[in-house]
């Protein structure tokens, strides 16, 4: 490959690749007229995609967590399907968002680390649904492709932006803008709204403000309320070096956290989640008040999880479930099942785009890496062949999740991981070196290699050896 073909981080793909990858998308986006948009939008449902940032999959009261109260998301789960094995395509902000909003993997979108735009040849949900489905597409809140916030997002009208790292300040403004839009809307076109909240990401600021263990409890009265340490607060003896170094760099190691400080961190994290839950409630109330709830497909998910003390981790980036598994709730009154939890299908952010397209009656863009969840949403079906692949930021590793196992490989690191997620959901016993699991490892490795062979990786992603 020549230097001109590589074009650097932001250059993305070559012209030839652009045409090849995006022919159908570009054609659709350029030939539609405003009148055709409106006609195309008749009788289609509204779409509301709600995204939180850094939301641990179990930080919801509706999944049995008694240390948090999330009445708004509980109400959504009560009328929808909660996917309990939902994974981020890449447990870091920008890459995960690029996959969620395009249905392509983060390396295909070119967003293999934070702060890179989606490759121009790949349409996002707003571009696609406004061009092909006649949708009025609006966006509020965090974008991060590349800037955290932008007044200009391809395919969307930007209702509101936000303030980096300050969900506590900007999320109410995001919610109030979305609320006003839903209530004040007079158009007969269906809408696609992405409401992208910053919280509970403010836990990152909290971590930097709470490295030191206080001599006495900051709020003595709260001592009895602190949640316990997670059952998997320990970590496996055999781990890839990258995970060990991440743990060693983070605030708890630097501050030599006590058990009580870990518990206080978990208590604080839950308050961050509750904060955004109340704002989500504002949007759901607006849908109910306007009657739009009867014809709106609601998707709630997050870009990635939060360490929350599992494996003594904080923040994101790791393939462990605390960082890579995310909440995913889909509701569509009268169409999708209500109050169900799907605990057997590994699904991913890349499944959202094909699911939305399936429901609105628009062909999905070419080369979707996910699959529509519609059958699972509507019937008690079994799709045993479903698996998900999570890419690790910087193209440093992969995680493959099948129904029973999780397989992890890091570039240049002989320390592979295999976990039996049914017998060991806390991921504490690494089976990768156990001879009894040689065939399982080989099967998962092949599945991953076959998957990799299908991808059309953007040329701005550096090619590096040593992953296998």
């Amino acid at each position: 490959m020549t230097a001109s073909q590589t074009q650097g981080r932001r250059g993305g793909q070559s012209r030839r690749e652009f045409i090849k990858l995006s022919g159908a998308a570009a054609l659709a986006l350029s030939t539609s007229s405003a009148a055709a948009f409106r006609a195309a939008g008749k009788n289609r449902p509204n779409i509301l995609v709600i995204i939180t940032d850094q939301h641990h999959a179990d930080a919801l009261s509706c999944v049995g967590n008694k240390y948090i109260q999330t009445p708004a998301l509980d109400s959504l789960a009560a009328v929808g399907v909660s996917f309990r094995l939902s994974y981020s395509n890449n447990p870091v902000c920008s890459p995960a968002r690029s996959a969620l909003l395009t249905g392509r993997t983060s390396r295909e979108t070119g967003v293999y680390v934070n702060g890179i735009p989606i490759h121009k040849g790949i349409p996002n949900m707003g571009q696609w649904l406004s061009a092909k489905g006649g949708y009025e597409a609006v966006y509020a809140g965090k974008w991060h492709l590349p800037s955290s916030y932008s007044t200009s997002i391809p395919g969307f009208r930007v209702l509101h932006t936000g303030i980096g790292g300050q969900g506590n300040v900007c999320d109410p403004a995001v919610a109030m803008a979305c609320d006003a839009f839903i209530r004040g809307r007079k158009s007969d076109r269906p809408f696609l709204m992405v409401a992208s909240f910053m919280q509970p990401h403010d836990i990152c600021e909290w971590l930097r403000l709470n490295i030191d263990v206080p001599k006495r409890s900051r709020f003595p009265v709260s001592a009895d309320w602190l949640p316990p340490l997670p059952a998997n607060h320990a970590f496996p003896k055999v781990e890839p070096d990258r995970l060990k170094s991440t743990r060693a760099r983070n605030e708890p190691s630097r501050g030599k956290w006590t058990a009580d400080h870990w518990r206080y961190y978990r208590w604080s994290y839950f308050r961050h989640v509750e904060q955004v839950d109340g704002l989500i409630g504002l949007l759901l109330q607006a849908l109910r008040d306007t009657g739009a709830d009867r014809n709106t497909l609601v998707v709630f998910t997050s870009d990635h999880g939060e360490g929350m003390g599992h494996h003594q981790m904080v923040r994101k980036s790791s393939p462990y479930d605390e960082a890579s598994r995310v909440p995913l709730i889909v509701s569509f009154p009268g169409r999708a099942r209500e109050g169900r939890a799907d605990t057997r299908h590994p699904v991913s952010g890349v499944d959202v785009m094909p699911t939305v397209c399936d429901y609105v009656g628009v062909a999905a863009p070419p080369e979707m890496r996910g699959r529509s969840l519609r059958k699972i949403l509507e019937r008690d079906v079994d799709e045993p062949d479903r698996f998900t692949v999570t890419e690790i930021s910087g193209d440093t590793g992969r995680m493959l999740r099948t129904r029973k196992y999780k397989y992890v490989t890091y570039r240049g690191d002989p320390g592979k991981q295999l976990f039996d997620m049914e017998a060991d959901p806390g991921e504490l016993k690494n089976l990768a070196e156990d001879e009894a699991y040689t065939d399982v490892v080989a099967k998962h490795r092949k599945l991953l290699l076959d998957w990799e062979g299908e991808l059309k990786v953007a040329t701005n992603v550096p090619k590096k050896p040593g992953l296998w």
Binding site: Q69, T161, C170, H201, L209, Q275
Partner: protein, 268 residues
């Protein structure tokens, strides 16, 4: 690969007036020589300052809050609030509210109006995002009126708002503990089961002046703890919650004029 970030020093400790002083966020000690009575008529201005968690990067004033209190017979009050926050791309979100409340420990609110609007920033005009709300609290029920619709919230506890608590805490007894109450954040979002407790005295240096501050803290569902610091005359001078601080500054709104927000916010 991404550009390597310069090594930055984390603050390491929660935001308190002392830490705000170290971070040079307090500014000058405001001119507070006038007589102050929490029960009387007063106007406070606050800078809304946010911390990114580092000592010397990402910390900034993003908004301003003004509270204007007037006493209304039998210990009650009206509180006019104006909050402006400048977001990325220069979009300013403004809220004006008028709240009526009782003179009880938490200044429980009885009825209110709120208007919200968005101005500035690139792209289509945002006038359609303006919104007005009304609300009332009576007999254990909050009723919210918006866009011709009514929403009710049942609560058996008194209700305060995040802004009205700025008023109430100034009237709380030293070493006092409030009854359990609910918060209606921004007069809109219900946050139940809160209490405010006295936390003791902090002695700090505020731009060369040694100041004794009374500390209160508020815990409850749906919000990070709020902490309040009052001077000797019971004037609320600093409020913190998470990475955000309200710092008493009579010229806060004037200082915000001209601020355009980060054009391209690269902070996650």
């Amino acid at each position: 690969m991404a550009k390597s970030k310069k090594k930055r020093t984390a603050v390491g400790r929660p935001i308190t007036p002392a830490v705000l002083g170290e971070l040079k966020a307090l500014g000058d000690w405001p001119d507070l020589d006038r007589e102050f009575s929490p029960e009387g008529a007063w106007t406070h201005g606050y800078r809304i300052w946010t911390c990114h968690g580092y000592v010397s990067s990402g910390n900034e004033t993003v908004g301003a809050l003004r509270l204007e209190r007037k006493g209304v017979g039998a210990g009650g009050f009206t509180l006019r609030t104006r909050q402006r926050v400048v977001h990325s791309g220069g979009i300013t979100h403004s809220i004006r509210a008028e709240i009526r409340g009782r003179g009880d420990t938490i200044g429980s609110i009885t009825d209110w109006t709120l208007a919200s609007k968005y101005e500035g920033g690139k792209g289509p005009d945002r006038a359609d995002l303006g919104m007005s709300r009304k609300g009332a609290c009576k007999d254990g029920q909050v009723t919210l009126f918006v866009g011709g619709k009514t929403c009710t919230i049942q609560t058996q506890r008194p209700v305060a708002s995040d802004w009205s608590l700025f008023e109430a805490v100034q009237r709380m007894a030293v070493e006092g503990v409030s009854p359990t109450f609910d918060v209606l954040e921004h007069l809109t979002i219900h946050r139940p089961y809160h209490r405010i407790r006295y936390g003791g005295v902090d002695q700090i240096n505020w731009s060369g002046k040694s100041v004794k501050l009374h500390h209160y803290y508020q815990l409850g569902q749906g919000m990070l703890p709020y902490e309040y610091w009052l001077d000797a005359s019971r004037r609320l001078v600093v409020v913190t919650t998470g990475a955000r601080a309200y710092i008493l500054d009579p010229k806060a709104h004037e200082k915000l004029d001209g601020k355009t927000g980060s054009g391209k916010d690269k902070r996650a």
